[in-house]
């Protein structure tokens, strides 16, 4: 039972994380390969502030602000680059952020990580807190879902799609491409920061090793598998990926093979990502399914 609660909570956190990436990847067409950085910044900000005694909700709000500001900071240089180079810049940015977590021991305790991150007082502590934490995650996930959907169907979401489809046309139609992309990245980063802070308060222990390229690939897989540019796609993808990951634990794998599983998993996810992009780039839920001649 507790295990099921755990899986659901993780899936919901990943759903928020995936929806945040979808704003950039699905709507604005930005391949952000460093999205985990904002998840990490959210997690560390929230953890540090609440460890310092700030109420958890305030820490979470600060996490979102910090992640959003980091997103804006990344945009200034990275959005001057086009296509693949933007992807590389985001990848490098995420690595820099991880190295910051690792090396700035005065702040982050380095590789030791931050243990004992408090949960919101009203959800309780330990195992007993799980049902309430699930409720919290559910509320936030639903809010984020509605929010993203609201933005996606707005003229702003449409303008992002124009940028995704053809930047030159966007410019010819009077769209400020840089500003639109920046707003998409900042919005995506704010929500990734929220997901990260939820993660920190749920797991209660974070370390730099939690925020690597592996996590970026995982969340990319959630979005691409589910269907980028759709409302339900990232949610579906997050549940599928998290459940699949947990199901692996029950496979009867010999102990000495266990050591190989972790790195192998990363490879499998990377491979799955490549295969989907090649074979069915629109994912399970297609953005274009409802368009037909009429």
């Amino acid at each position: 039972m507790d295990y099921l609660l755990h899986i659901l909570i993780v899936a919901l956190i990943y759903a928020v994380f995936a929806m945040s990436l979808n704003l950039e990847l699905g709507y604005a067409g930005l391949y952000n390969f460093g999205h985990v950085a904002f998840f990490g910044i959210g997690a560390y900000t929230s953890a540090l502030l609440s460890l310092a005694g700030l109420p958890v909700p305030l820490g979470m709000a600060c996490a979102m602000v910090a992640a959003g500001m980091a997103g804006a900071l990344l945009c200034v240089p990275a959005l001057r680059l086009t296509g693949d180079f933007f992807g590389i810049a985001t990848l490098v940015f995420a690595e820099m952020v991880r190295l910051f977590f690792l090396n700035e021991r005065w702040l982050t305790k380095g590789p030791m990580g931050l243990p004992g991150i408090p949960r919101p007082s009203w959800v309780g502590t330990g195992i007993a807190a799980m049902p309430m934490f699930l409720v919290l995650c559910l509320l936030l996930t639903v809010s984020v879902f509605l929010l993203v959907r609201w933005v996606a169907v707005s003229p702003f979401g449409r303008a992002l799609k124009v940028v995704r489809e053809d930047e030159y046309v966007a410019q010819a139609l009077g769209k400020n491409v840089f500003s639109l992309k920046t707003r998409a990245v900042v919005a995506g980063s704010v929500l990734a920061g929220l997901a990260g802070s939820l993660w920190a308060h749920y797991i209660t222990y974070i370390s730099p090793g939690d925020f690597t390229l592996n996590e970026t690939i995982l969340v990319l897989l959630c979005v691409v598998l589910g269907g980028k540019g759709t409302n339900w796609g990232p949610v579906l993808g997050a549940f599928a990926v998290v459940f699949f990951q947990e199901a692996l634990r029950f496979l009867p794998i010999p102990a000495d093979l266990g050591r190989l599983i972790a790195p192998l998993q990363g490879m499998v996810y990377g491979l799955a990502l490549i295969l989907i992009m090649l074979q069915r780039p629109e994912g399970v839920i297609s953005e274009y399914r409802r368009s037909r001649v009429c």
Partner: protein
Amino acid sequence: MLRVEQVTKRFGGLTAVDHITLNVGDTGITGLIGPNGSGKTTLFHMITGFYTLDRGRIYFQDRCISGRPPHTISRQGMVRTFQHTRVLPFMTAMDNLLSAAPDQAGERLCSVFFRPGRIRREEEAHRERAKEILEFVHLTPLSHQLAGRLSFGQQKLLEIGRVLMARPRMILLDEPTAGINPTLIRHLVNILRGLTARGIRIFLIEHNMPLVAEICEKVFVMDSGRLIFSGLPAEARQDARVIEAYLGREDRAA
């Protein structure tokens, strides 16, 4: 309305546009012709801000626009199409038009959240206008079709419709009739005439000389980056330099 002064563009050793000065006054339809590679598209790119200028200045409605980014030039009322049709393939014909509506409050995130009523009214108005435009370019039955699935000619019409949606004062069309059939060309000519009747000025690159003679009130001729003629279309056909530019070489314009 549009003045180009001493404009030059070089690509390495090649001078694609060489000290061009021209004045597109308040003429309804102005043509720009010249053999392939004479620098017409490059000049359009410079006027609309997509290419920087190596020299010279460009004025639109007496304001200097050279050096401005493309989106600000577009917002001032000069909207262009591209030589190779560029619809937004994975958006519907309707959304192609809606996204061109100028100055949308709904593109600002704060309005999206805090002024939903205003945005809804604005969207309704844009939708009505988009419907009229679809009717005008004869694409109404296809409004929910993905633009990428339209035929080549339909995409051209959609592109013109999209330009209209932006409420331009002047439109720049780069070879609007290239590759479309004679019936569609007639349809297009009617559309262009309708636009001038609404006070929209048109500046277009065109290879079809009889068509230029028919619809353009004024024509500029370029050859190897230089302006070799400006005046009435009928005169252009008798001008010795124009005839030489078109006949005196292998790569005659199609």
